[in-house]
Protein backbone atom coordinates (compact mmCIF):
# COMPACT_ATOMS: atom_id res chain seq x y z
CA UNK A 1 0.00 0.00 0.00
CA UNK A 2 2.78 2.39 0.91
CA UNK A 3 4.45 1.72 -2.42
CA UNK A 4 1.29 2.40 -4.34
CA UNK A 5 0.73 5.58 -2.38
CA UNK A 6 4.20 6.77 -3.30
CA UNK A 7 3.54 6.08 -6.98
CA UNK A 8 0.32 8.04 -6.71
CA UNK A 9 2.01 11.01 -5.03
CA UNK A 10 4.76 11.02 -7.67
CA UNK A 11 2.09 10.84 -10.38
CA UNK A 12 0.20 13.82 -8.97
CA UNK A 13 3.36 15.91 -8.71
CA UNK A 14 4.34 14.99 -12.27
CA UNK A 15 0.82 15.77 -13.50
CA UNK A 16 1.04 19.26 -12.02
CA UNK A 17 4.50 19.86 -13.44
CA UNK A 18 3.42 21.48 -16.75
CA UNK A 19 2.04 24.43 -14.75
CA UNK A 20 5.55 25.36 -13.72
CA UNK A 21 7.72 24.57 -16.73
CA UNK A 22 8.00 25.75 -20.32
CA UNK A 23 6.58 23.84 -23.29
CA UNK A 24 10.12 22.85 -24.26
CA UNK A 25 10.59 21.21 -20.89
CA UNK A 26 7.20 19.53 -21.07
CA UNK A 27 8.44 17.80 -24.22
CA UNK A 28 11.70 16.84 -22.55
CA UNK A 29 9.90 15.49 -19.52
CA UNK A 30 7.60 13.40 -21.71
CA UNK A 31 10.57 11.66 -23.26
CA UNK A 32 12.47 11.46 -19.97
CA UNK A 33 9.58 9.59 -18.37
CA UNK A 34 9.39 7.23 -21.33
CA UNK A 35 13.07 6.30 -20.99
CA UNK A 36 12.69 6.05 -17.23
CA UNK A 37 9.95 3.46 -17.62
CA UNK A 38 11.98 1.62 -20.27
CA UNK A 39 14.94 1.34 -17.90
CA UNK A 40 12.65 0.25 -15.07
CA UNK A 41 11.31 -2.57 -17.23
CA UNK A 42 14.83 -3.63 -18.14
CA UNK A 43 15.67 -3.75 -14.44
CA UNK A 44 13.33 -6.72 -14.14
CA UNK A 45 15.63 -8.62 -16.47
CA UNK A 46 19.01 -7.21 -15.43
CA UNK A 47 18.63 -6.37 -11.76
CA UNK A 48 16.01 -8.91 -10.77
CA UNK A 49 16.87 -11.92 -12.87
CA UNK A 50 20.57 -11.15 -13.32
CA UNK A 51 20.54 -11.51 -17.11
CA UNK A 52 22.40 -8.98 -19.24
CA UNK A 53 20.86 -7.67 -22.42
CA UNK A 54 22.50 -5.32 -24.86
CA UNK A 55 19.61 -5.52 -27.29
CA UNK A 56 16.35 -4.44 -25.73
CA UNK A 57 16.18 -1.39 -27.96
CA UNK A 58 15.09 -3.93 -30.58
CA UNK A 59 11.74 -4.31 -28.83
CA UNK A 60 11.41 -0.56 -28.29
CA UNK A 61 12.04 0.14 -31.97
CA UNK A 62 10.17 -2.86 -33.33
CA UNK A 63 6.95 -1.71 -31.69
CA UNK A 64 7.52 1.84 -32.90
CA UNK A 65 8.21 0.70 -36.46
CA UNK A 66 5.27 -1.70 -36.42
CA UNK A 67 2.85 1.03 -35.39
CA UNK A 68 4.38 3.70 -37.65
CA UNK A 69 4.30 1.48 -40.73
CA UNK A 70 0.76 0.32 -40.00
CA UNK A 71 -0.40 3.93 -39.72
CA UNK A 72 1.47 5.40 -42.68
CA UNK A 73 1.19 2.50 -45.10
CA UNK A 74 -2.06 0.81 -44.24
CA UNK A 75 -3.80 3.82 -42.66
CA UNK A 76 -4.56 1.84 -39.56
CA UNK A 77 -6.08 3.63 -36.59
CA UNK A 78 -3.22 4.66 -34.22
CA UNK A 79 -4.86 2.87 -31.29
CA UNK A 80 -4.98 -0.37 -33.23
CA UNK A 81 -1.54 0.28 -34.64
CA UNK A 82 -0.17 0.66 -31.11
CA UNK A 83 -1.66 -2.71 -30.20
CA UNK A 84 -0.19 -4.18 -33.35
CA UNK A 85 3.27 -2.76 -32.63
CA UNK A 86 3.31 -3.99 -29.05
CA UNK A 87 1.94 -7.33 -30.16
CA UNK A 88 4.69 -7.63 -32.76
CA UNK A 89 7.41 -6.93 -30.21
CA UNK A 90 5.99 -9.33 -27.67
CA UNK A 91 5.58 -12.08 -30.25
CA UNK A 92 9.15 -11.70 -31.44
CA UNK A 93 10.34 -11.72 -27.82
CA UNK A 94 8.28 -14.82 -27.10
CA UNK A 95 9.77 -16.63 -30.06
CA UNK A 96 13.30 -15.53 -29.36
CA UNK A 97 13.62 -15.52 -25.58
CA UNK A 98 13.31 -19.29 -25.03
CA UNK A 99 16.39 -19.83 -27.18
CA UNK A 100 18.34 -16.80 -25.98
CA UNK A 101 18.02 -17.27 -22.23
CA UNK A 102 19.53 -20.73 -22.48
CA UNK A 103 22.76 -18.78 -22.76
CA UNK A 104 24.03 -16.99 -19.72
CA UNK A 105 26.39 -14.16 -18.99
CA UNK A 106 28.40 -12.78 -21.86
CA UNK A 107 27.00 -15.19 -24.46
CA UNK A 108 23.54 -13.83 -23.78
CA UNK A 109 24.93 -10.33 -24.07
CA UNK A 110 26.43 -11.19 -27.45
CA UNK A 111 23.32 -12.83 -28.82
CA UNK A 112 21.06 -9.97 -27.74
CA UNK A 113 23.49 -7.55 -29.34
CA UNK A 114 23.51 -9.57 -32.56
CA UNK A 115 19.75 -9.77 -32.61
CA UNK A 116 19.45 -6.04 -32.06
CA UNK A 117 21.80 -5.50 -34.99
CA UNK A 118 19.66 -7.68 -37.23
CA UNK A 119 16.59 -5.57 -36.54
CA UNK A 120 18.59 -2.38 -36.86
CA UNK A 121 20.10 -3.64 -40.11
CA UNK A 122 16.66 -4.36 -41.53
CA UNK A 123 15.49 -0.88 -40.62
CA UNK A 124 18.49 0.87 -42.18
CA UNK A 125 19.02 -1.25 -45.27
CA UNK A 126 15.55 -2.34 -46.31
CA UNK A 127 14.89 1.17 -47.50
CA UNK A 128 11.89 0.46 -49.69
CA UNK A 129 9.88 -0.77 -46.74
CA UNK A 130 11.32 0.93 -43.68
CA UNK A 131 12.56 4.18 -45.18
CA UNK A 132 16.17 3.36 -44.34
CA UNK A 133 18.10 6.06 -42.53
CA UNK A 134 15.23 8.48 -43.07
CA UNK A 135 12.89 6.40 -40.97
CA UNK A 136 9.12 6.70 -41.08
CA UNK A 137 7.82 10.26 -40.75
CA UNK A 138 4.23 11.45 -40.61
CA UNK A 139 2.99 9.14 -37.86
CA UNK A 140 -0.33 10.40 -36.53
CA UNK A 141 -1.19 10.29 -32.84
CA UNK A 142 -4.30 8.51 -31.58
CA UNK A 143 -7.50 10.52 -31.15
CA UNK A 144 -8.52 10.75 -27.51
CA UNK A 145 -12.02 9.63 -26.55
CA UNK A 146 -12.70 13.02 -24.97
CA UNK A 147 -13.04 15.40 -27.90
CA UNK A 148 -12.12 18.50 -25.94
CA UNK A 149 -8.62 17.12 -25.38
CA UNK A 150 -6.39 17.79 -28.35
CA UNK A 151 -3.49 15.34 -28.33
CA UNK A 152 -1.47 17.63 -30.59
CA UNK A 153 -1.08 19.91 -27.57
CA UNK A 154 2.27 19.06 -25.90
CA UNK A 155 0.78 19.22 -22.42
CA UNK A 156 -2.06 16.90 -23.37
CA UNK A 157 0.43 14.46 -24.86
CA UNK A 158 2.50 14.73 -21.71
CA UNK A 159 -0.53 13.75 -19.64
CA UNK A 160 -1.40 11.03 -22.11
CA UNK A 161 2.10 9.53 -21.73
CA UNK A 162 2.09 10.06 -18.00
CA UNK A 163 -1.15 8.11 -17.72
CA UNK A 164 0.34 5.08 -19.48
CA UNK A 165 3.64 5.35 -17.70
CA UNK A 166 2.01 5.51 -14.28
CA UNK A 167 -0.02 2.46 -15.23
CA UNK A 168 3.16 0.74 -16.40
CA UNK A 169 5.07 1.64 -13.25
CA UNK A 170 2.19 0.43 -11.13
CA UNK A 171 2.10 -2.91 -12.98
CA UNK A 172 5.90 -3.31 -12.90
CA UNK A 173 5.93 -2.65 -9.18
CA UNK A 174 3.13 -5.13 -8.63
CA UNK A 175 4.85 -7.71 -10.75
CA UNK A 176 8.22 -7.19 -9.06
CA UNK A 177 6.80 -7.76 -5.59
CA UNK A 178 4.61 -10.70 -6.57
CA UNK A 179 5.62 -14.32 -6.07
CA UNK A 180 6.85 -14.33 -9.67
CA UNK A 181 8.99 -11.25 -9.01
CA UNK A 182 10.41 -12.89 -5.90
CA UNK A 183 11.17 -16.00 -7.91
CA UNK A 184 13.18 -13.90 -10.36
CA UNK A 185 15.38 -12.76 -7.47
CA UNK A 186 15.65 -16.41 -6.56
CA UNK A 187 16.82 -17.28 -10.06
CA UNK A 188 19.42 -14.53 -9.85
CA UNK A 189 20.80 -15.79 -6.56
CA UNK A 190 20.69 -19.53 -7.15
CA UNK A 191 19.32 -21.32 -10.16
CA UNK A 192 19.99 -24.77 -8.77
CA UNK A 193 18.11 -24.03 -5.58
CA UNK A 194 15.16 -22.75 -7.58
CA UNK A 195 15.10 -25.96 -9.62
CA UNK A 196 15.27 -27.98 -6.43
CA UNK A 197 12.29 -26.04 -5.14
CA UNK A 198 10.26 -26.96 -8.18
CA UNK A 199 10.51 -23.73 -10.14
CA UNK A 200 10.79 -23.91 -13.90
CA UNK A 201 13.83 -21.65 -14.05
CA UNK A 202 13.90 -21.47 -17.82
CA UNK A 203 10.33 -20.27 -18.00
CA UNK A 204 10.99 -17.67 -15.31
CA UNK A 205 13.86 -16.27 -17.34
CA UNK A 206 11.72 -16.17 -20.45
CA UNK A 207 9.05 -14.34 -18.46
CA UNK A 208 11.51 -11.69 -17.31
CA UNK A 209 12.86 -11.28 -20.82
CA UNK A 210 9.43 -10.92 -22.40
CA UNK A 211 8.08 -8.59 -19.70
CA UNK A 212 11.09 -6.31 -20.15
CA UNK A 213 10.50 -6.44 -23.91
CA UNK A 214 6.81 -5.62 -23.49
CA UNK A 215 7.60 -2.62 -21.30
CA UNK A 216 10.13 -1.51 -23.91
CA UNK A 217 7.47 -1.92 -26.59
CA UNK A 218 4.96 0.32 -24.81
CA UNK A 219 7.70 2.92 -24.32
CA UNK A 220 8.61 2.61 -27.99
CA UNK A 221 5.02 3.38 -28.98
CA UNK A 222 4.85 6.40 -26.68
CA UNK A 223 8.15 7.66 -28.05
CA UNK A 224 7.10 7.15 -31.67
CA UNK A 225 3.83 9.00 -31.18
CA UNK A 226 5.65 11.76 -29.33
CA UNK A 227 8.06 12.29 -32.22
CA UNK A 228 5.40 11.48 -34.86
CA UNK A 229 8.34 9.67 -36.36
CA UNK A 230 10.40 6.54 -35.92
CA UNK A 231 13.94 6.02 -37.20
CA UNK A 232 16.87 3.61 -36.84
CA UNK A 233 17.98 5.58 -33.78
CA UNK A 234 15.26 3.83 -31.80
CA UNK A 235 16.92 0.50 -32.64
CA UNK A 236 20.50 1.59 -32.13
CA UNK A 237 22.50 -0.62 -29.80
CA UNK A 238 23.72 2.54 -28.13
CA UNK A 239 20.18 3.03 -26.89
CA UNK A 240 20.32 -0.48 -25.45
CA UNK A 241 23.63 0.42 -23.86
CA UNK A 242 22.20 3.61 -22.42
CA UNK A 243 19.32 1.69 -20.87
CA UNK A 244 21.68 -0.88 -19.42
CA UNK A 245 23.71 1.95 -17.96
CA UNK A 246 20.58 3.51 -16.52
CA UNK A 247 19.87 0.26 -14.70
CA UNK A 248 23.38 0.11 -13.34
CA UNK A 249 23.65 3.75 -12.36
CA UNK A 250 20.22 3.63 -10.81
CA UNK A 251 20.99 0.49 -8.88
CA UNK A 252 20.03 -2.91 -10.28
CA UNK A 253 17.01 -4.42 -8.60
CA UNK A 254 15.79 -1.20 -7.02
CA UNK A 255 13.33 -0.28 -9.84
CA UNK A 256 13.04 3.37 -8.80
CA UNK A 257 16.78 3.88 -9.26
CA UNK A 258 16.77 2.81 -12.92
CA UNK A 259 13.67 4.94 -13.51
CA UNK A 260 15.35 8.04 -12.10
CA UNK A 261 18.61 7.27 -13.89
CA UNK A 262 16.85 6.57 -17.20
CA UNK A 263 15.02 9.89 -17.05
CA UNK A 264 17.99 11.79 -15.71
CA UNK A 265 20.40 10.49 -18.32
CA UNK A 266 18.03 11.51 -21.08
CA UNK A 267 17.82 15.04 -19.75
CA UNK A 268 21.57 15.32 -19.19
CA UNK A 269 22.06 14.03 -22.70
CA UNK A 270 19.80 16.55 -24.38
CA UNK A 271 21.37 19.37 -22.41
CA UNK A 272 24.88 18.24 -23.26
CA UNK A 273 24.18 17.60 -26.93
CA UNK A 274 22.95 21.17 -27.09
CA UNK A 275 26.08 22.54 -25.45
CA UNK A 276 28.91 20.34 -26.66
CA UNK A 277 29.60 17.19 -28.57
CA UNK A 278 30.83 15.49 -25.46
CA UNK A 279 27.77 13.44 -24.58
CA UNK A 280 29.36 10.17 -25.60
CA UNK A 281 32.37 10.84 -23.42
CA UNK A 282 30.22 11.80 -20.46
CA UNK A 283 28.25 8.60 -20.93
CA UNK A 284 31.49 6.63 -21.08
CA UNK A 285 32.87 8.23 -17.93
CA UNK A 286 29.59 7.60 -16.16
CA UNK A 287 29.98 3.90 -16.94
CA UNK A 288 33.51 3.80 -15.65
CA UNK A 289 32.81 5.85 -12.55
CA UNK A 290 29.77 3.77 -11.68
CA UNK A 291 31.71 0.54 -11.88
CA UNK A 292 34.68 1.84 -9.95
CA UNK A 293 33.11 4.15 -7.41
CA UNK A 294 29.46 3.39 -6.99
CA UNK A 295 28.73 -0.29 -7.55
CA UNK A 296 25.12 -0.60 -6.47
CA UNK A 297 24.15 2.64 -8.12
CA UNK A 298 22.07 5.54 -6.89
CA UNK A 299 19.81 3.22 -4.94
CA UNK A 300 22.75 2.16 -2.80
CA UNK A 301 23.38 5.71 -1.56
CA UNK A 302 20.60 5.74 1.05
CA UNK A 303 21.60 2.22 2.07
CA UNK A 304 25.23 3.26 2.37
CA UNK A 305 24.34 6.25 4.51
CA UNK A 306 22.11 4.14 6.72
CA UNK A 307 24.76 1.46 7.00
CA UNK A 308 27.47 3.92 7.83
CA UNK A 309 25.40 4.98 10.78
CA UNK A 310 25.12 1.47 12.17
CA UNK A 311 28.55 0.67 10.75
CA UNK A 312 27.98 -2.58 8.93
CA UNK A 313 29.18 -3.24 5.44
CA UNK A 314 26.78 -2.63 2.59
CA UNK A 315 25.46 -5.82 1.09
CA UNK A 316 26.86 -6.66 -2.32
CA UNK A 317 23.69 -6.57 -4.34
CA UNK A 318 25.63 -5.43 -7.35
CA UNK A 319 28.22 -8.16 -7.53
CA UNK A 320 25.68 -10.91 -7.18
CA UNK A 321 23.69 -9.61 -10.13
CA UNK A 322 26.58 -10.56 -12.35
CA UNK A 323 25.87 -14.20 -11.66
CA UNK A 324 29.20 -15.91 -11.24
CA UNK A 325 32.26 -14.03 -10.24
CA UNK A 326 30.91 -12.02 -7.35
CA UNK A 327 33.40 -12.01 -4.55
CA UNK A 328 31.37 -10.73 -1.66
Amino acid sequence: MRRELLILIAAVILALLPRFISTYWVGLMTQALIFGAFAMGLDLLVGYTGLLSLGHAAFFGLAGYGAALAITRWSLDPWLAAGLGIGLSVLVALAYAPLAVRLGGLALLTVTLAFGQVVWGLATRWTTFTGGENGVPGVSRPVLPISSLDIADPIIYYWFSLFWIVLLVFLISRFAHSPVGLSLLGVRDSETRMLALGYNVHRRKVTAFVVAAAVGAVCGILSTYFNKFVGPGSLDWRLSAQMLLSVVIGGPGSLWGPFVAGSGLFIIRTQLVGETQRWVMVLGFLYIITVLVLPGGLASIPVRIRNRRISTLPSGTFDSTGGEGGDV
Partner: protein, 252 residues
Protein backbone atom coordinates in the same frame (compact mmCIF):
# COMPACT_ATOMS: atom_id res chain seq x y z
CA UNK B 1 9.80 -61.32 -6.82
CA UNK B 2 7.08 -59.10 -8.15
CA UNK B 3 6.40 -57.19 -5.00
CA UNK B 4 9.91 -57.18 -3.65
CA UNK B 5 9.93 -53.44 -3.31
CA UNK B 6 6.34 -52.98 -2.31
CA UNK B 7 7.19 -50.74 0.61
CA UNK B 8 9.61 -48.63 -1.39
CA UNK B 9 8.93 -45.03 -2.16
CA UNK B 10 12.08 -44.52 -4.18
CA UNK B 11 13.84 -47.13 -6.26
CA UNK B 12 17.06 -46.76 -8.18
CA UNK B 13 17.69 -49.56 -10.69
CA UNK B 14 20.91 -50.19 -12.57
CA UNK B 15 21.84 -46.54 -12.81
CA UNK B 16 25.10 -45.69 -14.57
CA UNK B 17 26.69 -42.33 -15.22
CA UNK B 18 29.91 -41.52 -17.08
CA UNK B 19 31.77 -38.25 -17.10
CA UNK B 20 33.99 -38.57 -20.14
CA UNK B 21 36.01 -41.70 -19.48
CA UNK B 22 35.22 -41.75 -15.79
CA UNK B 23 32.53 -44.10 -14.59
CA UNK B 24 30.96 -42.16 -11.74
CA UNK B 25 28.16 -44.62 -11.07
CA UNK B 26 28.29 -48.25 -12.13
CA UNK B 27 24.90 -50.02 -12.25
CA UNK B 28 23.82 -48.86 -8.84
CA UNK B 29 20.62 -50.35 -7.47
CA UNK B 30 18.87 -49.76 -4.17
CA UNK B 31 15.46 -49.12 -2.66
CA UNK B 32 14.38 -46.58 -0.09
CA UNK B 33 11.55 -47.74 2.14
CA UNK B 34 8.71 -45.35 2.84
CA UNK B 35 9.29 -43.45 6.07
CA UNK B 36 12.81 -44.74 6.51
CA UNK B 37 16.00 -42.88 7.37
CA UNK B 38 18.32 -44.01 4.64
CA UNK B 39 22.00 -43.22 4.74
CA UNK B 40 24.30 -43.15 1.72
CA UNK B 41 27.84 -43.79 2.77
CA UNK B 42 31.13 -43.87 0.96
CA UNK B 43 34.58 -42.34 0.82
CA UNK B 44 35.23 -39.16 -1.15
CA UNK B 45 34.65 -39.61 -4.85
CA UNK B 46 32.50 -42.69 -4.32
CA UNK B 47 29.69 -41.10 -6.34
CA UNK B 48 27.33 -40.08 -3.53
CA UNK B 49 26.57 -36.60 -4.77
CA UNK B 50 26.33 -37.85 -8.35
CA UNK B 51 23.76 -40.33 -7.12
CA UNK B 52 21.76 -37.49 -5.58
CA UNK B 53 22.07 -35.53 -8.78
CA UNK B 54 20.72 -38.48 -10.74
CA UNK B 55 17.83 -39.04 -8.36
CA UNK B 56 16.82 -35.38 -8.44
CA UNK B 57 17.42 -34.93 -12.15
CA UNK B 58 20.36 -32.53 -12.07
CA UNK B 59 22.41 -35.12 -13.93
CA UNK B 60 20.67 -37.30 -16.48
CA UNK B 61 21.06 -41.05 -16.35
CA UNK B 62 22.86 -42.70 -19.21
CA UNK B 63 21.45 -46.06 -18.18
CA UNK B 64 19.04 -47.22 -15.55
CA UNK B 65 15.77 -46.07 -14.06
CA UNK B 66 14.75 -43.93 -11.11
CA UNK B 67 11.24 -44.51 -9.80
CA UNK B 68 9.20 -42.53 -7.32
CA UNK B 69 6.11 -44.35 -6.09
CA UNK B 70 6.71 -46.88 -8.88
CA UNK B 71 6.51 -44.20 -11.56
CA UNK B 72 9.49 -43.85 -13.84
CA UNK B 73 10.78 -40.31 -13.34
CA UNK B 74 14.11 -40.75 -15.13
CA UNK B 75 13.18 -38.39 -17.95
CA UNK B 76 11.74 -35.59 -15.82
CA UNK B 77 13.52 -32.29 -15.27
CA UNK B 78 14.65 -31.36 -11.75
CA UNK B 79 11.78 -28.96 -11.12
CA UNK B 80 9.19 -31.56 -12.14
CA UNK B 81 10.70 -34.05 -9.70
CA UNK B 82 10.65 -31.43 -6.95
CA UNK B 83 6.95 -30.90 -7.59
CA UNK B 84 6.40 -34.63 -7.23
CA UNK B 85 7.84 -34.38 -3.73
CA UNK B 86 11.47 -35.24 -4.27
CA UNK B 87 13.28 -32.35 -2.61
CA UNK B 88 16.97 -32.03 -1.91
CA UNK B 89 19.49 -29.83 -0.17
CA UNK B 90 23.00 -29.16 -1.38
CA UNK B 91 26.40 -29.73 0.11
CA UNK B 92 27.38 -26.12 -0.44
CA UNK B 93 24.56 -23.87 0.65
CA UNK B 94 22.67 -22.60 -2.33
CA UNK B 95 20.40 -20.26 -0.45
CA UNK B 96 19.25 -16.96 -1.91
CA UNK B 97 21.80 -14.87 -0.12
CA UNK B 98 20.40 -11.44 -0.98
CA UNK B 99 16.92 -12.37 0.25
CA UNK B 100 15.80 -12.52 3.85
CA UNK B 101 15.42 -15.75 5.78
CA UNK B 102 11.65 -15.47 5.54
CA UNK B 103 11.74 -14.83 1.80
CA UNK B 104 13.84 -17.95 1.36
CA UNK B 105 11.25 -20.07 3.11
CA UNK B 106 8.50 -18.19 1.32
CA UNK B 107 9.79 -19.33 -2.07
CA UNK B 108 9.18 -22.88 -0.93
CA UNK B 109 5.82 -22.16 0.68
CA UNK B 110 4.52 -20.47 -2.47
CA UNK B 111 5.18 -23.59 -4.52
CA UNK B 112 3.46 -25.78 -1.96
CA UNK B 113 0.35 -23.59 -2.07
CA UNK B 114 0.48 -23.26 -5.85
CA UNK B 115 0.77 -19.48 -5.50
CA UNK B 116 4.12 -19.30 -7.23
CA UNK B 117 2.62 -18.31 -10.57
CA UNK B 118 0.86 -15.27 -9.18
CA UNK B 119 2.32 -12.26 -10.96
CA UNK B 120 0.32 -9.31 -9.67
CA UNK B 121 -0.37 -9.81 -6.00
CA UNK B 122 2.34 -8.82 -3.56
CA UNK B 123 4.02 -11.88 -2.07
CA UNK B 124 4.20 -10.03 1.24
CA UNK B 125 0.41 -9.79 1.31
CA UNK B 126 -0.05 -13.52 0.80
CA UNK B 127 -0.85 -14.20 4.44
CA UNK B 128 -1.36 -17.88 3.84
CA UNK B 129 2.10 -18.37 2.34
CA UNK B 130 3.72 -16.09 4.92
CA UNK B 131 2.10 -18.06 7.73
CA UNK B 132 3.29 -21.32 6.24
CA UNK B 133 6.84 -20.03 5.81
CA UNK B 134 6.84 -18.69 9.36
CA UNK B 135 5.57 -21.97 10.71
CA UNK B 136 8.42 -23.74 8.99
CA UNK B 137 10.95 -21.35 10.50
CA UNK B 138 9.42 -21.72 13.93
CA UNK B 139 9.66 -25.48 13.71
CA UNK B 140 13.39 -25.18 13.17
CA UNK B 141 13.74 -22.30 15.66
CA UNK B 142 14.79 -19.86 12.98
CA UNK B 143 11.83 -17.50 13.27
CA UNK B 144 13.79 -14.87 15.19
CA UNK B 145 15.96 -14.42 12.09
CA UNK B 146 13.03 -14.01 9.69
CA UNK B 147 13.85 -10.50 8.48
CA UNK B 148 17.61 -10.91 8.30
CA UNK B 149 19.31 -11.19 4.92
CA UNK B 150 20.70 -14.69 4.61
CA UNK B 151 24.25 -13.48 4.18
CA UNK B 152 24.13 -12.06 7.69
CA UNK B 153 23.14 -15.25 9.51
CA UNK B 154 25.68 -17.78 10.70
CA UNK B 155 26.76 -20.76 8.63
CA UNK B 156 25.12 -23.23 11.02
CA UNK B 157 21.85 -21.36 10.75
CA UNK B 158 22.18 -21.34 6.97
CA UNK B 159 22.46 -25.12 6.94
CA UNK B 160 19.31 -25.37 9.02
CA UNK B 161 17.58 -22.88 6.79
CA UNK B 162 18.42 -25.07 3.78
CA UNK B 163 16.41 -27.80 5.40
CA UNK B 164 13.61 -25.43 6.38
CA UNK B 165 13.29 -24.14 2.83
CA UNK B 166 13.06 -27.69 1.52
CA UNK B 167 10.53 -28.67 4.16
CA UNK B 168 8.35 -25.75 3.17
CA UNK B 169 7.58 -27.73 0.04
CA UNK B 170 6.11 -30.55 2.11
CA UNK B 171 8.23 -33.20 0.37
CA UNK B 172 7.61 -36.94 0.29
CA UNK B 173 11.30 -37.66 0.16
CA UNK B 174 13.88 -35.28 1.57
CA UNK B 175 17.41 -35.77 0.33
CA UNK B 176 20.06 -34.18 2.51
CA UNK B 177 23.55 -33.81 1.07
CA UNK B 178 26.00 -33.71 3.99
CA UNK B 179 23.78 -31.60 6.22
CA UNK B 180 26.44 -31.28 8.93
CA UNK B 181 29.43 -30.51 6.71
CA UNK B 182 31.52 -27.71 8.14
CA UNK B 183 29.51 -27.40 11.33
CA UNK B 184 30.80 -27.14 14.88
CA UNK B 185 30.07 -29.87 17.38
CA UNK B 186 27.14 -28.02 18.90
CA UNK B 187 25.71 -27.09 15.53
CA UNK B 188 26.00 -30.69 14.35
CA UNK B 189 23.94 -31.78 17.32
CA UNK B 190 21.32 -29.18 16.56
CA UNK B 191 21.01 -30.49 13.01
CA UNK B 192 20.87 -34.11 14.19
CA UNK B 193 18.05 -33.23 16.57
CA UNK B 194 16.31 -31.40 13.79
CA UNK B 195 16.46 -34.45 11.50
CA UNK B 196 15.38 -36.74 14.32
CA UNK B 197 12.33 -34.60 14.95
CA UNK B 198 11.16 -34.70 11.35
CA UNK B 199 7.75 -36.36 10.97
CA UNK B 200 7.92 -40.13 10.67
CA UNK B 201 5.84 -40.09 7.49
CA UNK B 202 8.64 -38.22 5.72
CA UNK B 203 11.27 -40.34 4.03
CA UNK B 204 14.78 -38.99 4.51
CA UNK B 205 17.87 -39.91 2.50
CA UNK B 206 21.13 -38.59 3.92
CA UNK B 207 24.57 -38.43 2.44
CA UNK B 208 26.95 -38.13 5.30
CA UNK B 209 30.65 -38.18 5.80
CA UNK B 210 30.56 -38.39 9.54
CA UNK B 211 29.99 -42.01 10.56
CA UNK B 212 28.82 -41.01 14.02
CA UNK B 213 26.05 -38.95 12.47
CA UNK B 214 25.01 -41.67 10.04
CA UNK B 215 24.89 -44.39 12.65
CA UNK B 216 22.78 -42.18 14.89
CA UNK B 217 20.30 -41.25 12.21
CA UNK B 218 20.01 -43.98 9.60
CA UNK B 219 18.10 -47.21 9.95
CA UNK B 220 19.22 -48.33 6.54
CA UNK B 221 22.51 -47.87 4.71
CA UNK B 222 23.78 -48.07 1.15
CA UNK B 223 27.53 -47.97 0.77
CA UNK B 224 29.20 -46.83 -2.43
CA UNK B 225 32.80 -47.32 -3.42
CA UNK B 226 34.21 -46.04 -6.73
CA UNK B 227 30.72 -45.72 -8.11
CA UNK B 228 29.68 -49.23 -7.12
CA UNK B 229 27.31 -50.38 -4.45
CA UNK B 230 29.30 -52.57 -2.13
CA UNK B 231 26.77 -52.97 0.63
CA UNK B 232 23.12 -52.34 1.29
CA UNK B 233 20.94 -53.21 4.24
CA UNK B 234 20.04 -52.39 7.81
CA UNK B 235 22.53 -50.14 9.52
CA UNK B 236 23.47 -52.79 12.06
CA UNK B 237 24.17 -55.38 9.34
CA UNK B 238 26.16 -53.04 7.17
CA UNK B 239 28.29 -51.96 10.13
CA UNK B 240 29.38 -55.55 10.56
CA UNK B 241 29.94 -56.23 6.87
CA UNK B 242 33.61 -57.20 6.45
CA UNK B 243 33.91 -55.60 2.99
CA UNK B 244 32.59 -52.32 4.28
CA UNK B 245 34.86 -52.49 7.28
CA UNK B 246 37.80 -52.98 5.01
CA UNK B 247 37.22 -50.25 2.41
CA UNK B 248 35.55 -47.69 4.53
CA UNK B 249 35.55 -48.19 8.24
CA UNK B 250 39.04 -49.68 8.17
CA UNK B 251 40.47 -46.47 6.81
CA UNK B 252 39.13 -44.49 9.71
Amino acid sequence: MFDANGGSILTVSDVSVHFGGLLALDRVTFNVARGSRHGILGPNGAGKTTLFNVITGFVSTQAGIVRLNRNDISALSPHRRARLGLVRTFQITTLFKDLTVLENALLGALVRLGHHRNALRAARDDSQAIALAYEQLEQLHLDHLADMPVQQVSYGEQRQLEIAVSLALDPQVLLLDEPTAGLSHAETHAVIDLIRNLPQSLTVVIIEHDLEVVFQLADHLTVLHYGRRIADGLTQEVREDPVVREVYLGTD
